[in-house]
Each structure stands twice: as structure tokens, then as C-alpha cells.
Amino acid sequence: MLLRRIYQFLIIYFLGLAILLGVKYALRLSNYVIPDPLLLGLTFQSEALRYFKDVLDTMSIAIIGQVLSICLAVLIGILGRQTTWFGSFVKVAAYNVQAYPIVALAPIIFILLGDGFLSRLLIAAMICYFPLLLSVLGIMAEPIGDIEHFYRITGRMRWQLEVKIRAFENLSKLTTVVAGSATLAMAGTIVAEFIAANAGIGYSIRIALYQSDLGKILIALFLIGISLSVYQGLLEWAGAIIRKTWESR
């Protein structure tokens, strides 16, 4: 699972790179527009270690943001699963918060929280929580008819049991959503760093952009992609283990 994720990413990355290089040589573009493989290699040699540390920094924030988002989405998903007035109110409030574009909210966040850890964390969580919420709401609001019916007619149904049944029956869906939201958490953190932070790979990409250095940006994209693939692979692996453990009970 993990290996498959990595080689699939490598195929996509090098395919994209090959297209770029194809354009470069077809249009005879200079290294300023698209760097050649030699320059890319030299850039990798000089920047990879520093950028890798930046990616780890970004990823650590993204993971914390993702965990927060999962907790929040599960909480709101459980509250919003009810077809009561309160359930619908929670859903409307959750949807409306997401209606504001993060680039418009970011300056306010940075003024209030500064350009350090908290702002990056909050933006990462805000970007990845909504798709999580939609999925959790969808899953939690959908009854598992025959199983739930059994517990209802025997009078043993409690809300905790209802949540457990629905989570278990949709575990593979939940795992996919959680793994997918890792991408969004990472993207959210990078956006935050790009806009105003002082650290992380988004910040390094911004500096490379100032210097019109596509080589550095391509190296950064490679490291982001490979790290994210490993993380997503690990999440899927963890999901599979949880499923097996539940099934064996």
C-alpha cells in the first residue's frame, strides 16, 4: 500500500517533469523559464536537505491541524446527524463558516494570532475540516437499516452504539476521507506559510517565486509529494489495521 502510493506519485511527478522538459526543448526555452535536468540536479543537491526539513516542519503542523479537524468534524457530524432543529442548525453554521475564502480570512487571522505556529495550524484545520465534515455528516446521517432496527426493537439502542455501527459499516470510506484530507491539511498549511508565515516549505516556495527559480519550486513539489504519499500510505495502513482489529472482535 505504502510502496504503491510512492511509485504512483513518482510516475505522476516524472510524467509532469517530462512534459515540462518536452516544452522546454521544443520551444528552446532557457533555464530561466524551465531548468534543464543538470540544473535541477544541482538545485536538488544544494537545496534538498533544507527543503526536506521545511517539509517536515510543514507536515507536523498539517498533521496536528488534521487531527483537530477530524475531532471537530466527528463532533459536528455526531451532533448534526440528528434530524432535529439543532442538528440542522449545526449543519448550516458549519457550512456557512466554510463559505468565506481562506485568503480573505487569512489577513485577519495573522493580525490576531501573528505569523507563527497558531495561524498556520488554524488555516490548515480550516481548509481540511469541511470535506471531512461533509463525509462524516453523510455517513453519520445514513442509518444502517437492518442492524439498527435489531437494536431498536430490543430496546438496546443508544447514541454511542448508533455512531459505532455507522462508523464501522463505513470504515473504508472514512479511511479514504481521512487520507484524502491529509492532502488538504498540507495544502492549507502551505497556503498559510505562503501568505504570511516565517517558516515551512510554503515560505520557501514564496522566496523561490520572488527569485523566479522554478528549479527550487520543482524540488519543493517533489519533496512535498513524496512526504505526503508516505503519510497517506501510513494512514491507509492504519485504517486497514483498525478494520481488522474491529472485525476480529
Partner: protein
């Protein structure tokens, strides 16, 4: 009937030309806009589309990709591009004094010599021109980094307003005026720290084209640059101030007219320092110094001999 549809364009039909600016429409591009709106390009039989720039735009890349025929780039962009083999040439230098300067409070001790920077909290944009310029100034002053505090600045000026940062980088002719006015309204008059006064003449906006364009269409290049510089001369002529402000207001609706007038005055002093000065004159020594600064700071791998791509012959 067929001949009507298949007729070749008339020989003197205006050539379509894209002109990519470095930044958004503001007082720094008043001459470009003036030349467009007031018919200087049309008179030269050129159909020029003046396109605003921005952080994600790079005129030199667009020249190479054929998306633009002329553009505006700063010297550091040109030197970086040359370092990586881009076929770019410089036709005119718009700013004679770099508008990138530092604002600070009048109540703070004045910076009369570079050693006065010691102990201050200095705003810089990491990776930006201002970082390069400030590091050069600090090196000239013999100040090591621990002797000052460098603060990473963004679009939000709050750290400067809150006195967390002592001196803050601004474009003197645009942001400098807006922030200066705000500070003045709070009874905090300001002054500016000008790197050029300490011998650092880092070249700013210049007009560029591709080597291919210069070789293949020298007549078009000449017509374009002459029309453009005529537009600049007219825009900065005090006799045309009302017209220049009208032009500017068409594109920059958010800035009040009296602020635009002040911006225009300062822009004039940075582009046409004396009444006799020919706008567009290329300061070769300043270009060489800019290259040397970038070499010293290892921003380019090797000397690019920037003087070989300067074409001052187009400035009339």
C-alpha cells in the same frame, strides 16, 4: 467577395504588441498608461496592449514564451535571467533612483551614516530586492547580523505601526505616501532612508525585450521605445499634470486624487531628476554595481556582463 475576406492586412496596419508591466497599475507606471491612453502608441502605428503585472507575473519569461513583446523588469530579474541563459536585452531604464526605500519615524534618531543602523529592528522581505539591498548596506557598514534585528515583513504594516519594527521597506512613490500620511494623521511624521544616498544604486524598473525581437524587428523596437518614452516625458511634464492624473485615475480608482498628485510628484523626482534629463537613460555603472552586489551575495553563479545587453541607443 472572396478578396474582401482574404485581403491581406494593410502594410501600415498597427502591429499587435503585448507590453507586460512589473506591477499593478499605479503611479509607477503613469508614463506607460499615458502613452497608451493619449495615443502615443497609435501615432507610432502600434497596437499596444498594456498589461498589469503582479507577483506571479514575470515579463522576461513572457518574452521568451512569445506571450509579450516588451516588458518591464528590475535589474535583479534581468541579471538572474541572464545567469540562466535567457535572451533578454534592456532598452531603457525608467527609474534613476530606486523607489524601494525604508520609512521610519522622525522621532527616532536619524540615519545619517550606515553605522546608525546598528541596534535597529529592520524590516526586510526575505528573498526580495530589499533583502539584497539591506544586506549590501549592512556589509558596507561592517555590521554583522547580530548587531541588527532583521524582521520578515509582509503586506500588513501593523508591526511598524506598533513600533515592533523601526524601519520598514516601502515603495517611496506609492506606499511611502500612503503610510506617511497615515502616520502624519497620528502626529507621527516620517522620513525615509534612501540606499542610493549611501552609494548603493540597485537598478529598478527597466524596459526589456527579447534579443530575437531586437534583431528581427529593430524598427518596431525603435518605434515602441520612442512612443513609450514620449509618453513618459509627457506624463511627467508639469504642464500635463491634470491629464496625467486623469489617466492615472482611470486605472487606479482606489487612491484619492490628491494622493495620486503627491505620488506623481515623487515619481517625477525618481524618474526625471532634472528638467533636462532624458527619461530612459541607462545608468551602466549602476547596472554593473547591481550585478556585483548579486555576485557578492551569491545570487548568481557567475558574472553575466550585464553591460553587454544594455542598449542605450534607443533613448533619444
Amino acid at each position: 467577395m472572396l478578396t474582401i475576406f482574404w485581403a491581406a492586412p494593410a502594410a501600415d496596419a498597427a502591429d499587435p504588441i503585448n507590453y507586460r508591466l512589473k506591477w499593478l497599475f499605479n503611479a509607477s507606471v503613469v508614463g506607460d498608461l499615458y502613452a497608451d491612453v493619449n495615443g502615443h502608441f497609435t501615432e507610432a502605428r502600434l497596437a499596444v496592449k498594456v498589461k498589469s503585472g503582479g507577483p506571479e507575473r514575470d515579463a522576461i519569461k513572457e518574452l521568451e514564451l512569445g506571450q509579450a513583446q516588451f516588458g518591464v523588469a528590475s535589474a535583479d530579474q534581468v541579471i538572474r535571467a541572464l545567469d540562466k541563459g535567457a535572451p533578454v536585452v534592456v532598452l531603457a531604464q525608467i527609474f534613476q533612483v530606486n523607489p524601494l526605500q525604508w520609512i521610519y519615524r522622525r522621532t527616532d534618531p536619524p540615519i545619517r551614516q550606515l553605522a546608525d543602523l546598528k541596534g535597529r529592528v529592520i524590516g526586510i522581505t526575505y528573498g526580495g530586492n530589499d533583502e539584497t539591498i539591506m544586506r549590501t548596506l549592512l556589509a558596507q557598514a561592517g555590521l554583522a547580523e547580530p548587531e541588527v534585528t532583521l524582521f520578515n515583513v509582509r503586506y500588513d504594516y501593523t508591526p511598524f505601526y506598533r513600533r515592533q519594527v523601526d524601519i520598514w521597506p516601502v515603495y517611496r512613490n506609492t506606499q511611502g505616501i500612503i503610510i506617511g500620511r497615515k502616520m502624519q494623521a497620528e502626529n507621527e511624521p516620517v522620513r525615509f532612508f534612501i540606499p542610493g544616498e549611501f552609494g548603493v544604486r540597485f537598478v529598478a524598473n527597466s524596459v526589456v525585450t527579447s534579443r530575437r525581437m531586437l534583431q528581427n524587428e529593430p524598427a518596431t523596437v525603435k518605434r515602441f521605445i520612442q512612443a513609450l518614452l514620449a509618453g513618459w516625458e509627457a506624463a511627467l511634464d508639469p504642464a500635463n499634470t491634470v491629464r496625467a492624473l486623469d489617466t492615472l485615475q482611470q486605472f487606479d480608482r482606489d487612491t484619492p486624487r490628491e494622493q495620486l498628485a503627491e505620488q506623481l510628484d515623487i515619481t517625477r523626482s525618481l524618474i526625471k531628476p532634472t528638467t533636462e534629463f532624458k527619461i530612459g537613460t541607462i545608468d551602466t555603472a549602476a547596472w554593473k554595481q547591481t550585478e556585483q552586489i548579486m555576485l557578492t551575495q551569491k545570487q548568481v553563479a557567475k558574472p553575466v556582463q550585464v553591460e553587454t545587453v544594455l542598449h542605450p541607443e534607443f533613448v533619444f
